[in-house]
């Protein structure tokens, strides 16, 4: 695979994922080729069951493809062991899920610090980075709150902070606005777009939220596990 490491961050070739839990094979992802360049703000869209989350899971190494390969930063993640994948995700990928992102028994600061603790970042640097990212996501003053003491939008902001604080190459956001009202979702997306501009971190969303679709600069449309459309657009 000749990957242009200057620009290409994710390269997926011939991805297939077949589930056969009930004995009937179901193609969740069916022969998908995808290249994501560094700094992109991309939305993978499609109706429920179109394979968005499965594709995201395979790209991030959370799931393994039945066929096909994925390279991230030039490294073939499909060939990695479980432990290597854990370390790889820790160092290269930030995750934002639609809800229940945060560890409920940890405070805001502790949640954000968690990945840095896994990475072995020293205490002072952790504190510096946490303070900086809290400022970026507008959550200063909430350091010692537990997730249950925050609104849904605030929790997602903390989740964004946790995803970005370890300075990964890629942020994967699976339906990040699904549990938020439109105003809160809009502000969250605007914040992520600003962070994308500021840091040039790559964002990939899986969504069917019109709000997210409008803000994305590239849309990859899936249907029945296949790429229906892949287009750039002018975000609103």
């Amino acid at each position: 695979m000749a990957q242009n490491q200057q620009t290409e961050l994710v390269v997926a070739e011939g991805l297939e994922k077949v589930y056969s839990d009930d004995g009937v094979p179901v193609h969740a992802v069916n022969n998908v080729d995808l290249t994501i360049n560094k700094g992109e703000f991309t939305a993978i869209v499609g109706p429920s069951g179109s394979g968005k989350t499965t594709l995201l899971n395979i790209i991030s190494g959370l799931d393994t493809p039945t066929n096909g390969k994925v390279w991230l930063n030039g490294q073939p993640i499909s060939a990695m062991s479980g432990k290597e994948l854990s370390d790889f995700r820790r160092d290269h990928i930030g995750f934002i899920f639609q809800a229940y992102n945060l560890i409920p028994v940890l405070t805001v600061v502790e949640n954000i610090e968690y990945i840095m603790l896994l990475q072995g970042v020293d205490k002072q640097e952790r504190r510096d980075r946490v303070n900086a990212i809290l400022k970026d996501v507008g959550m200063e003053g909430y350091q010692d709150r537990k997730p249950t003491q925050l609104s849904g939008g605030q929790q997602q902001r903390v989740a964004v902070a946790r995803a970005m604080v370890s300075q990964p190459s890629l942020i994967l956001a699976d339906e990040p606005t699904a549990n938020l009202d439109s105003d809160t979702g809009s502000r969250l997306l605007e914040m992520m777009r600003e962070l994308n501009h500021k840091t040039n971190m790559t964002f990939i969303f899986s969504t069917h939220d019109e709000l997210v679709i409008k803000k994305a600069r590239r849309l990859v449309v899936l249907k029945d596990g296949k790429t229906l459309e892949d287009k750039e657009q002018q975000p609103s």
Binding site: D63, D87, F97, V105
Partner: protein, 409 residues
Amino acid sequence: MFWLNIKLAWRNLFRNKRRSLIAGTAIGLGLASLIFVDALVIGMTDNMIHSATASFLGEGQIHDENFVDTQATEETINNLDWVVSELEKEDIVQNFTRRTSVMAMISSAANVSSINLVGVNPETEPPLSQVDEALQKGDYFKDENMRDILIGSKLAEILETELNDRVVVTVSQVETGDLSQDMFRVSGIYHFNTPEMDRGMAFIRLKKAQDMLGLGDNVHEIAINFTDNRYGRNDKLPFWDKYSKHGNLAQGWTEILPQLEAALELSQFSTFLVGVILFGVVALGIINTLFMSLYERMFEFGVLRAVGTRPASLAQLIVLEAAALAVISIVLGNIIGLIVTYITAQVGIDYTGIEFAGVTFRTLLYPELKPSQFIFYPFWVFVLTVLVGLYPAISAAKISPARALQKVL
């Protein structure tokens, strides 16, 4: 990461306070039961040993080596003067007494019965037997009357005698084998609640017995109490070898009453079995609690794995949660165990009159608290809880992050 997992485990334990409290109490009750059973068995063991040795046996005995098997009148202790003088010098001997012991016939106006007639020294006997304490009627060799005899309550019923009634005792003399008869006055009736003693024994003065039997100053038995009752159970004590010569045999109570030693071993095995059963029940409770907690937090584990937590670290978290549960349980168990055992140790448990392994409990049974009970059993509860926690921990480590994020196993 280890310290973070400790913090997480401790806080996770209090996420569902009610469930943790119930699980901790269940494990704690198991631990408290173990502490109590152990204290009870120790108390019962001491009580049984005391009942067996203090009633009449003593903690050790010296006989002619043939007397043990034959009970023959002529088999008296050899080199008695040396034995007595040496015993008087022994640091480990608290007190001892000399006795004669022969089979005899006792008859009243109404009936006749065979008995073990024991000659005792009223001055040295009381510390080694409880005949004086077991008297229901009469006195314990109060006057210098050589014709006093103490009989058991059952024997009194058989003979249809009351206090101060006369009975006739017939024995066989040592040298000639001639029968020797003498009349005695029932000066006391005792009740041990032990058929063997209440029905089959009678006590007269040592001097009178020696005269009747023609033994001179010889005796059949020396009963001994030690300064520490553990000496009687120590068959490696040099004491036994020292006095098991010149044709004599010195034995501790474990040899004299092997059935009691066997019963005590059985009690200890019972404690072990109770422990195994309790630990088994506790183990299933822990597994259930941890798996319930694991299933409830499946999505959370998926998030943890997604952000880079290694499977081993997740397993460590579950094991630490089990350890945290163990700590709570141990605190609860030790408190409950201490309170219950302390109260029963103060009040006592009434098993008096109940016979077990040939020994009748004569006093209240007091469980005995030992510091080791609050270290040994909690240690094993902790180890077991952590070991049992490995099962859900390994299951958690094997979770596929993608599936966990779908909340599907």
